[in-house]
C-alpha cells in the first residue's frame, strides 16, 4: 500500500477534446505551470489526437504543436512534458521536432491489436532519449492473452511502460483487473492504466488497476477528455491518498488548479450524457453514434440495440457499412416477432 504511483495528467491533451482543441498556448502554459507546481509527474499536451492531429479530419487546434510545446516547456520546471503519437497521424519528424523543443516523454499509441506499427516510433523515441510509453488503445476489445502478446511486443521495442488504455470507457473493474494482472505476470516493465468515465467507473477502474499492480495512472483536471472524460485528476489523487498510495502530487494545489484555472476555461461541463454512456456500454467508436442513429430512424429500430450488436461483433473503424446491415437485420427480426 505504500507503492509510489506515477501520474500523467492529460488535461492538455485528452482534455483538448472537451474544448474542441481550442486551448491557446497561453491557456496551456497557465495550466501546465499549476500542474507542475502541484508535483505532477508527466504533463501530456497537444491536440487531442496527438502530434499532427490538427487537421480537417480530426479538427484544427488553435495553435501548432510547436507553439504549444514552446509555451509549456518554457514554464514547466520538474514534470516531464509529454506528447502523444499515433503512428499514421504523427510522424518520426514530428517526434524529433517535439524532442528538440523540450518534450521529455512520448506515448506511442496503437489499437490494441496493432502494437507492430509502434516499433519504429518507440525505437526512435528511445534514441531521442525520451521516456517512452506504449499505449494499447480500445483494450476492452481483446482478452488478456491477446493484450499480453501485444504488450510484449512494445516491451521488446524498448518501451519503458505499457498501458492498458480503455479508450471507450467500456471496461468494468473486473475487466481491468483481469487485463492488468495478466500483464503484471508477463512483462518486466511497469504497467499503466488510462480510464474513461463512460460507465462512471474511471476512478473505480483506476483503483482496481492499482490493486493489481499498475503503477502508472492517468487523469485530467475536472475529468476533461474525450467521451465522458478521464479519471478526474484531483478526485483520483484524493482517492489514492485515502487508499494509502504515495504520489508526488499536492492535493490542495490540484484542487485549486481545477477550480480556479481549468473550470473557467471549460466550454461545457464534463458529464456522462446519453451518447457517451451508450458508446461506453456498447464499446464502440464514438464516430459510430451518428451512423447508428440514422440507421435506427431509417429501419425503425432502437439505436442502442444497433450499437450493442456492433459492440458484440467488434466492428472497428472502416467497417461502417455493417451498421446498415445490423439495422436491417434487427428490423427483420422485429418484423418476425410482430
Amino acid at each position: 500500500m505504500t507503492q509510489k504511483i506515477t501520474i500523467t495528467d492529460s488535461t492538455l491533451r485528452d482534455g483538448m477534446h472537451t474544448v474542441s482543441h481550442q486551448f491557446s498556448p497561453a491557456d496551456m502554459a497557465e495550466i501546465a505551470r499549476a500542474l507542475d507546481q502541484a508535483g505532477m509527474d508527466l504533463i501530456e499536451i497537444g491536440h487531442g489526437d496527438g502530434l499532427a492531429g490538427s487537421s480537417y479530419q480530426y479538427g484544427f487546434s488553435s495553435a501548432s504543436d510547436t507553439d504549444y510545446l514552446k509555451a509549456v516547456c518554457d514554464v514547466v520546471k520538474q514534470a516531464k512534458v509529454t506528447v502523444l503519437l499515433l503512428p499514421g497521424i504523427g510522424t518520426k519528424k514530428d517526434l524529433q521536432a517535439a524532442a528538440e523543443i523540450g518534450a521529455k516523454a512520448v506515448r506511442v499509441a496503437t489499437h490494441v491489436t496493432e502494437a507492430d506499427i509502434s516499433e519504429q516510433h518507440i525505437k526512435i523515441a528511445k534514441e531521442l532519449g525520451l521516456f517512452t510509453v506504449g499505449f494499447l488503445m480500445m483494450a476492452h476489445m481483446e482478452e488478456p492473452e491477446k493484450i499480453v502478446e501485444q504488450a510484449r511486443k512494445m516491451e521488446s521495442y524498448g518501451a519503458d511502460v505499457v498501458y492498458v488504455t480503455d479508450s471507450a470507457g467500456a471496461l468494468l473493474p473486473d475487466g481491468v483487473r483481469a487485463r492488468v494482472s495478466a500483464l503484471r505476470n508477463a512483462v518486466n516493465i511497469p504497467i499503466g492504466f488510462h480510464a474513461h468515465n463512460n460507465l462512471g467507473v474511471a476512478v473505480g477502474n483506476t483503483l482496481a488497476a492499482l490493486a493489481e499492480g499498475a503503477t502508472f495512472v492517468d487523469g485530467s483536471l475536472r475529468g476533461m477528455g474525450a467521451g465522458a472524460g478521464n479519471a478526474q485528476t484531483e478526485v483520483m489523487v484524493a482517492a489514492l491518498n485515502k487508499q494509502g498510495y504515495l504520489t508526488n502530487c499536492d492535493l490542495s494545489k490540484l484542487i485549486r488548479a481545477a477550480e480556479d484555472i481549468v473550470a473557467p476555461k471549460m466550454s461545457r461541463p464534463q458529464i456522462i450524457d446519453s451518447v457517451a454512456l451508450i458508446l461506453g456500454y456498447a464499446g464502440v467508436y464514438s464516430s459510430f453514434f451518428l451512423h447508428a442513429k440514422r440507421a435506427a430512424e431509417r429501419f425503425g429500430v432502437d439505436a442502442l440495440t444497433i450499437l450493442e450488436e456492433l459492440g458484440k461483433r467488434r466492428i472497428v473503424g472502416g467497417q461502417e457499412d455493417q451498421i446498415i446491415d445490423v439495422a436491417y437485420e434487427l428490423s427483420q427480426k422485429q418484423a418476425l416477432v410482430r
Copy 2:
C-alpha cells in the same frame, strides 16, 4: 451473477438538493411517469431532507409533501412510491399522511450510530403496511462491527431491508466491501447500498457492494443528489447489465428520461467540484465547509487540512465549535515549524 437487483431511484428526493428543492409537482409527475415506464422498482420523492424537510433550516421546497405525493401517486402504475423519514424532522403523523395518499414504501434514516431512534417509526411503517427500509447514514464513520450492531437493531424493529448509506461519499470500494460483507453475515434481511460520488466512485462502490451480496442499490438520473450526487441511475443500470445482473429496468428508456426530461430541468450540472471533493475526502458534513473556510482565513491555515483533521476526529453536527479549535491548533503547529 444472475441475481435480481432492486433499484431505488432518488432523482426526486436526493436530487432535490441539486435544484434547491424546487421541482414542481408537475416536474415530479413527469419524471416519475418516465421512471415508472422504465421499470423502476422504487421511486423516492419529496424534499431532499425527507418528510417535513421543507423549512427555514433545510430550505423550502416549491410544494408540500402532500402535493408532491398526490401528483406522483396519480401517474405511477407499478413502482413503489417511496418517502424518506428522518426521525426528528418528519413525524409519525407525516408518515401516516403519506401512506394515506399512496406511498408504498418508506426509508427511515438515522445517523449510523443511532438506529435506536428508528424503532418507533419502523414499527409504525410496518403497521401502515409500508415496505420499510432502515437507512444507516454516514456509514463511513464507523467500522463494520458497529454497523452490524446498528443494522441488527433495525432488523429487530421489523425493517425489510437495511442500507449502508455513504452520505458523505467518503467510502472507497474496500470500505464498502468490508461493511456490506459484515452485514451479509449478520442479518437475514437484504442489504442495500446508497452511494455518493464525492470521490468519483459512486458506481464503482455500487458494483463492490453488489459483489459482496447487496441486492438493493440506489441511483438518480444524471446523478442528481446532495454533494457530488448519487450513482447516475442510467449509468449504473448500464454497468449492472454489462456485469450480468438482472434488473427490471429498461436501459433505453432510462437514458431517454435522463436526457430528454431530467437534463433540461437541471439548474446546474452534477459535477465533482472542490467543495464536494474536499467533503468526501475529509468525510465530514457539508455544512462544515464554510466554517472551515472562514477559520482557515482567520488562522492562516489550509481549509483542506482543517477538514481532514475534523474527519480524523470524527466531529459530527453540533460540534462546530471544534472547527475553531482545530484551526487554532494547526496554526500553532505551523508557527513551530517556521
